[in-house]
């Protein structure tokens, strides 16, 4: 087990700065997710920790030891790739033992280590098979097993569940959570799927254009987003942003939405100014026309079983409202 520290890290690809002066601490034993849209630099960051990409500026420490220029194999990290990268010509057991065999470990010790890994990940019946004879979920478990066999201080996962179907993804999420609970090893997990990040991680790092937007627990990211990007990125449909006007009042500020709605918020401000009011779809409720704060018509209703999403065209622009799935909603009639 070890903490990971990134100090003033930058990565430049042919003049393009994909990571810019980034500082991050991954505490010892934590499950940290690097979350962000495609091209935000999260994979580049993981690959720099792994040693697969050179760090252009800054330094990286694992367990307090500077590994900035260390060979990947000597960093005590193991990586699970998106494509699993299982060696197709080797059996599951040989895949699991590959790093041990390269390190010159005696065969008997290798077999013993492989048996321990197989037991932990329920791979016993698959040890003689080749990767082509395995299902997606089994391959994923073997890839984790191969990483586990190295006994690393830090596990790195590069979007490992993205090739699995929805059902298997849920199952593998549970298995990863259980694995982290059992091993208590530091894990860094790259994903663009916020559900994966929210369910697996105890710390999430939100990245955009090579910069950290916020670091926090899933609860903090959802309830106290640091900026508009985090607010819009976290949550299944993102946040509604409505144009409003805020004026100082007493200890806080009063935000006026249109002519009739006033909301008191704990904001510190000295003068009145236009603002954007962010409201999550689940914090809005549909009410009969003329009785609410925002009037509009439903342009589209998405029915998801337990819940429905109504896309309302209002004077403030498009507003998404999450409604109870038991209500029968129709497009057309006015609400609010």
């Amino acid at each position: 087990m070890a903490s990971v520290e990134l100090q003033n890290i930058s990565k430049v690809f042919g003049g393009l700065r994909v990571i810019d002066n980034l500082n991050l601490t991954v505490p010892d034993g934590s499950f940290t997710a690097l979350l962000g849209p495609s091209g935000c630099g999260k994979s580049a960051l993981l690959r720099m920790i792994a040693g697969l990409e050179q760090i252009s500026e800054g330094r990286a420490l694992i367990g307090g030891v500077d590994i900035t220029n260390e060979e990947p194999a000597r960093r005590k990290v193991a990586m699970v790739f998106q494509s699993y990268a299982l060696y197709p010509h080797l059996t599951v057991e040989e895949n699991v033992c590959f790093s041990l065999s390269l390190a010159g470990m005696p065969k008997a010790a290798q077999k013993e280590r492989a048996a321990g890994v197989a037991k932990m990940l329920q791979l016993e019946s698959l040890m003689a098979r080749r990767p082509a004879q395995l299902s997606g979920g089994q391959r994923q478990r073997v890839a984790i097993g191969r990483a586990l066999a190295r006994n690393p201080e830090v596990f790195l996962f590069d979007e490992p569940l993205s090739n699995l179907d929805a059902m298997l993804r849920v199952q593998m999420r549970l298995e990863l959570t259980k694995l982290h609970k059992d091993l208590k090893t530091t894990m860094i997990y790259v994903t663009h799927d916020q559900v994966e990040a929210m369910t697996l991680a105890d710390q999430i790092v939100v990245l955009e254009k090579g910069k950290i937007q916020q670091v926090g627990s899933p609860w903090q990211l959802y309830n106290q987003p640091a900026n508009r990007f985090v607010a819009s990125f976290i949550g299944s449909l993102g946040m509604n942003f409505l144009p409003a006007r805020a004026t100082p009042s007493g200890q806080g500020a009063t935000v006026a939405l249109g002519d009739s709605t006033r909301i008191d918020l704990p904001l510190r401000m000295t003068a009145a100014q236009p603002v954007e009011l962010g409201i999550r779809p689940e914090h809005l409720h549909l009410v009969a026309a003329g009785t609410g704060d925002i009037a509009g018509k439903a342009l589209l209703v998405e029915y998801l079983g337990n819940t429905s999403y109504a896309y309302i065209e209002s004077a403030f622009g498009q507003v998404i409202v999450e409604a109870d799935g038991s209500e029968s909603l129709e497009t057309g009639p006015p609400w609010g």
Binding site: A50, L52, P72, M79, S83, Y87, H89, S99, L102, R150
Partner: protein, 283 residues
């Protein structure tokens, strides 16, 4: 069972039948010389020169084979061919794999230049170099030795190109996973890239072996004594002071080609694959 009643289906059926018949005819036309050689080797010499065409020998005899096997140095020629063709195959595959790996995956100064040189060398026909090879081998005193026969045959830009192409197509995650597992460049080549492309290696090895076994011009020039000759050169020595002996000459040719024919029959699929790879590269 249903009878074909559709006229267009019947027409297609007739056309397919005619094509098959034509195929069989062409195959017979192609195979007849081989049949004729085999039949001739099994006839007594007097029957061969008798006027007329005997499609099947009146008297079967293995005299021509026993003569070639027991009165010439064919055993030594086989050994020479086996050693030189085997060495060429081993060295060509090993060097081409290493060169293909280096050009495909390693970063070093002059990599592109080296690649262009290999491409350029592919465009020079081997017979154009034969005088230079002869002079060089003569200067380093390797004429009439196995090494002298082997060394000029190690120029194999096509195999380097095929390996490079295949190594290029291996997803980089395999390499990265192995690097993280602690693999060195040699381990990457011999424990990952070569085994992952084993089919290509066997195909290239077989076709290189066949090519080296069938080599005639260079071994003919590089060797002057019978005990160092390859089987392809050695059979030219099966002559007789009292005229041409067709059965003996053809029996020696059959014996010379037999190992290659066997290799081809056993590894048919791989040879075809190798030819397609080579053609793909050349085309």
């Amino acid at each position: 069972m249903t009878a074909i009643s559709n006229p267009s289906a019947r027409r297609i059926n007739h056309a397919a039948g005619a094509l098959t018949a034509l195929n069989v005819l062409v195959a017979i036309f192609w195979a007849f010389p081989i049949y004729w050689v085999l039949v001739t080797t099994l006839k007594p010499e007097q029957d061969i020169v008798r006027p007329g065409i005997d499609l099947w020998p009146d008297r079967l005899t293995f005299d021509a084979y026993t003569y070639v096997l027991f009165n010439t140095q064919i055993g030594q020629w086989y050994l020479n061919s086996l050693v030189t063709a085997g060495s060429v195959t081993f060295a060509v595959v090993l060097m081409s794999a290493a060169a293909g790996y280096a050009i495909s995956l390693l970063e070093f100064p002059g990599r592109k230049l080296l690649w262009w040189l290999i491409l350029a060398s592919f465009m020079v026909p081997i017979p154009a170099l034969i005088v230079n090879h002869f002079v060089l081998m003569s200067q380093i005193k390797l004429l009439n030795t196995w090494a002298g026969v082997i060394l000029p045959q190690l120029l194999a830009p096509v195999t380097v190109m095929i390996y490079k192409q295949f190594f290029d197509s291996v997803p980089k995650e395999f390499r990265e996973a192995a690097v993280m597992d602690g693999a060195t460049q040699m381990q990457l080549l011999f424990r990952l890239y070569l085994p992952m492309n084993w089919g290509i290696t066997t195909a290239l090895a077989i076709i290189t072996f066949i090519g080296a076994w069938n080599q005639f011009l260079w071994p003919f020039l590089a060797v002057t004594t019978q005990d160092k000759m390859n089987v392809t050169v050695g059979i030219t020595q099966v002559t007789d002071a009292f005229g041409v002996k067709y059965a003996r000459d053809l029996a020696s040719a059959v014996l010379a080609g037999l190992p290659v024919a066997l290799v081809y029959l056993i590894f048919q699929r791989r040879v075809t694959q190798a030819i397609m790879l080579t053609v793909g590269i050349q085309g």
